[in-house]
Symmetry: C2
Subunit: 224 residues, 2 copies
Amino acid sequence: MRDSLIAAAFRLFLERGYEQTTIDDIVALAGVGRRSFFRYFPSKEDVVFPDHEKCLADMTAFLEASEDADDPVVRVCDAARLVLRMYAENPTFSVQRYRLTKQVPGLRTYELSVVWRYERTLAAYLRGRFAARRDGTLRADVIASAVVAAHNHALRAWLRADGVGDASAEMDHALDYVSRAWTSNAPAGDAPAEEEDDVVVVITRRRTPMWRVVRDVEAGLGRE
Amino acid sequence: MRDSLIAAAFRLFLERGYEQTTIDDIVALAGVGRRSFFRYFPSKEDVVFPDHEKCLADMTAFLEASEDADDPVVRVCDAARLVLRMYAENPTFSVQRYRLTKQVPGLRTYELSVVWRYERTLAAYLRGRFAARRDGTLRADVIASAVVAAHNHALRAWLRADGVGDASAEMDHALDYVSRAWTSNAPAGDAPAEEEDDVVVVITRRRTPMWRVVRDVEAGLGRE
């Protein structure tokens, strides 16, 4: 019933346009009553985005199942991938909806409010994980926002390409780009942690006498 | 006329609630006709956010006046400060609106679409500045989003504190937090550029023979 309402709605949206289609048109084509429509969808907008509520619930459950050992930034990137997976399950539908959303301002606004809910879900998780940090809530808000921006960047590139190609490779690249800048425990802007096994970094002033440089290098190399 | 419509609208919104106030109520209290209202505001939502159009235009002009020598990340942070300035010009009004927006879902959605327009304005500027970079559009989208998140984090903290205190100090701190992570020309996650005058960074592998370490250090110090 739910699926046939979605199918009927999209057929009409594409044939007549979104604004020109009424809920009565949709239920008539699906062969059900008005009350059946409202049992599944609070409004006409909701039939356009039928799976976000479930995806938000899945994301929340996924984050709640996180353990202390999980890197929080990696975890929110993986949580964001759940949204891509939902879109990638049905490329044709996702591409149709993308085109529709671009044309109808009301749907664009609806989508912004959905994106906002994903972002706040990620931010709430990060705020918990960063609770002990100075600037923890700021860090949480900024990273949640950056992850959502990177996710949407890759998602839209894939939708613009008509859902053809490997969405997950582009997604990995975009999310990596963000997580590299905000690696879990390092303060923002720090260099990646040195690989302890084989790299040593020495910082020295230009006027430092050479004997002190050598001493510091040796200490860094563990040869003291 | 415009100001008295805004004043009348807010008086009624606070007294009766937003949903319970009609445009007819507003024009009656302001002593003008309905057509005057629509000359200034396309809808009831717009009277709640009367200054965003001007602020968006100011932001666009500010970014267009940017020169190549300007650091793009610093420039978008300064552009975001224009929004804070608008709020800080009238703290009482801003705090009232903040409370109203939290209560009325339709206003929350309206605000999200305004925030989206600011974010796309910043992103469009950054896309231009990063056009020659690999991942330039990704970088632009992520930084625009992070700057907006940091701005809104500081702005909301100030609004929650009833508009008391120095909003700009908290804003500087939040925007610095983002720009440190995305310093203009370094790729994300890189260390801050060394201060050329007095600091040298040497990276070496643990197993490198000491003669090569010393040679590299000397080269780094410019003593070759």
